[in-house]
């Protein structure tokens, strides 16, 4: 649960950093533009979440999966993000898998991690 209202917003500084990396060097960004982008990003999180949970509901499942997020992109017509997301997911799985192997020796710490089992 969010304790403070600010917890429901993405941090302005971090969003600004992402924006700066996206734009050419030396671009100035007004304060209002920064807060606007941060707000947009926060709302986007909810928008994607709701699209993904719709898919979960329609399939009469309970848990939200990565695949649901990918499929949600098509539903909200952000298909252009699907390919880069898939790549990111592939990479993520590999890292998660490597991590699991590394820590697997010590303990079977299963904190509902349902990560890559293949590869």
């Amino acid at each position: 649960m969010a304790e403070k209202l600010e917890d429901l917003n993405l941090p302005l500084t971090v969003v600004t950093r992402i924006v700066k990396e996206a734009l050419p060097d030396g671009v100035a960004i007004s304060k209002e533009a920064r807060t606007g982008l941060a707000k947009a990003a926060s709302v986007f999180v909810l928008y994607v979440t709701s699209a993904a949970t719709n898919i979960v509901k329609n399939n009469k499942r309970k848990a939200l999966t990565g695949q649901d997020v990918l499929e949600a992109m098509a539903d909200i017509e952000f298909d252009r993000f699907v390919e880069p997301l898939k790549d990111a997911l592939e990479q993520y799985k590999q890292v998660a898998f490597a991590k699991k192997q590394a820590s697997g020796k010590k303990k079977d710490e299963t904190e509902d991690v349902e990560m890559a089992e293949d590869e």
Binding site: A2, E3, E21, G36, A40, S42, L46, T49
Partner: protein
């Protein structure tokens, strides 16, 4: 083996994204994989929106209106329209109202005490209500 750190390519804090996701009543648990993807796609989204807004800008200065312009023009960004309205000046607002009034033809109650339509967006989120703040 040099482990590539996938999570390191993220900027946004996963914990915050998780909090936002969980604020949706339909979400109770968020696994690491969907969390990673939502975070990642949000970063893609911000990058994309900023780049497109930048195309509307001039003199290397990105302003709110450039973003609002993108939002108003792209139907897939409909979900942002309420939080990112086009802003107009008091003058434009008055002109709009004047036109409206002209149309509605002399129903003379419309005075011109312009409601300030500059909407200074800094609606402070200082939740000052002394509710019971239960910290868990």
């Amino acid at each position: 083996m040099a482990t590539p750190k996938a999570e390191k390519d993220l900027h946004l804090p996963l914990s915050r994204v998780k909090t936002i996701m969980k604020s949706s009543p339909e979400v109770d648990a968020v696994g690491p994989e969907p969390l990673y993807l939502v975070t990642k796609v949000t970063e893609l989204f911000v990058t994309d929106l900023a780049k497109r807004a930048y195309k509307n800008s001039e003199k290397n200065f990105l302003e709110y209106k450039h973003i609002a312009e993108v939002v108003q023009q792209d139907d897939t960004l409909d979900f942002l329209r309420e939080i990112m309205p086009r802003k107009i000046t008091v003058r434009q607002f008055k002109e709009m109202m004047a036109k409206k009034a002209a149309k509605a033809n002399d129903s003379d109650e419309t005075s011109e005490e312009s409601s300030e339509e500059e909407s200074s967006d800094e609606s402070s989120s200082g939740n000052s209500n002394s509710n019971q703040e239960n910290k868990s």
